[in-house]
Point group: C2
Chain length 226, copies 2
């Protein structure tokens, strides 16, 4: 369970201040399949980054599993992220010098998982996103949607409790996107994995149990409940 | 008018060869509003890159305005691109050290256009994509969809004859995407600008006069005519 309480986020740009989020309060329950929607620039990625401890709010509190994250060191935050969360970035953030097997394996390496178990998990998730023929390719040797699927595989491989997915189907054709969403829905149903999407994909909105709407950094009508 | 005649494209990956395109032949007429569709990895971006002279085919001929492009020097190809084409990349390819005004202005600079005319054109197109409040931001200080719109603005600013758009709405919400597509349709109708899209967006397919379908690097049924 994740709680954002009166979160605001400002960016300084030279002498001006850009307000990305104004007074956002959201409670995410365990096992939710939640979609954050809104126009381009409305603050969806910023909200996801704050939930995922990748950015600190300018004011307000973030609570994760009852623990107040404000004022934790960046090492403590990194530990929580590594053990509890999987993040699919809007710009993928793959490591260009590693091939896709190594990219997907990376979070397991960081956790100190043994070689045999890493191999088994990575092979399985790469197959699930349809990239088994491409394990030796580096990110630059892949299509846009293939890179997106590597980012998805990397977020899923460690079986985290919470997956934060920023526009995970943006570069995928409808069929590939549907197959991957079905797998995510399945993980949510059978293992209770919490999914928080930032998206403009109607297909994800249709599958979500709850939709939260942002506009100009603010929640519209406290969000809509489906 | 652009003609691809029996185009194949292979990539070497260590000892293996990856075939991205097999024997593609396409004729694009002046003023067309054409969509290339197909699953992730089917060869859409590769086709667009070859049409836009950004990649050379492994075999086959590319003709542009009656001129055979095979064997032209990379300088001659760059000239054709700079004077005739606007390209919207799937990964945007913005210059990180320039702000968005400077990013959009860049192709006009390369052409030697005067300062006053550059300012007028850049201001106009930045307003058209809804980013007038963000001119001083650098790409890293923008949302994903805002970066995509900078890439779109940059392709449009020089009023080219042909625009190659690789998934131009992938990171945009429906409304923003529709507004931009309406402007592209307008340019096509009033100025006869040729648009070639690589896309999986149904909304672009609905607006296209003709749809070409790729699957595993090959044309399906010689493409479908709407
Ligand atoms: N440099 C490269 N080396 C090896 N293979 C490559 C390289 N670049 C692309 N490919 C392969 O060529 C195929 C076609 O790639 P392309 O980018 O054209 O696909 P696409 O249809 O645009 O896909 P998407 O919808 O995912 O963007 C893919 O299978 C990809 O892995
Ligand atoms: N480093 C930064 N400096 C200044 N402004 C920023 C910075 N990062 C983001 N912004 C601004 O904050 C606002 C919210 O950005 P955010 O990335 O959360 O939007 P979004 O809803 O994810 O948009 P999209 O759908 O286009 O991805 C945008 O207007 C953006 O320009
Ligand atoms: Mg975003
Ligand atoms: Mg592509």
């Amino acid at each position: 369970i994740i709680k954002l309480d009166k979160i605001s986020k400002d960016y300084k740009l030279g002498k001006t201040v850009v307000t990305a989020l104004k007074n956002i309060s959201v409670t995410v329950r365990k096992g939710e399949f939640l979609a954050i929607v809104g126009p381009s620039g409305s603050g969806k990625s910023t909200t996801l980054n704050i939930i995922g401890c990748l950015e600190e709010p300018s004011s307000g509190t973030v609570t994760f599993d009852g623990k107040n994250l404000t004022g934790l060191s960046s090492n403590e935050l990194a530990d929580i992220r590594a053990s509890k969360m999987g993040f699919i970035f809007q710009t993928f953030n793959l490591l260009p010098v590693l091939n896709i097997f190594e990219n997907v394996e990376y979070p397991l390496h960081l956790r100190g998982m043994g070689k045999a178990e890493r191999f088994e998990r990575v092979t399985k998730v790469i197959k699930e996103v349809g990239l088994e023929r491409f394990t030796k390719h580096k990110p630059a040797e892949l299509s846009g949607g293939q890179r997106q699927r590597v980012a998805i595989a990397r977020a899923l491989v460690g079986s985290p409790d919470v997956i934060l997915a920023d526009e995970p189907t943006a570069n995928l054709d409808m069929q590939t996107g549907e197959e991957i969403l079905a797998q995510m829905k399945e993980l949510n149903k059978t293992l209770g994995v919490t999914f928080i999407f930032s998206t403009h994909d109607q297909s994800i909105m249709d599958k979500a149990q709850r939709i939260i709407e942002l506009r100009d950094g603010e929640l519209r009508d406290g969000g809509l409940i489906k």
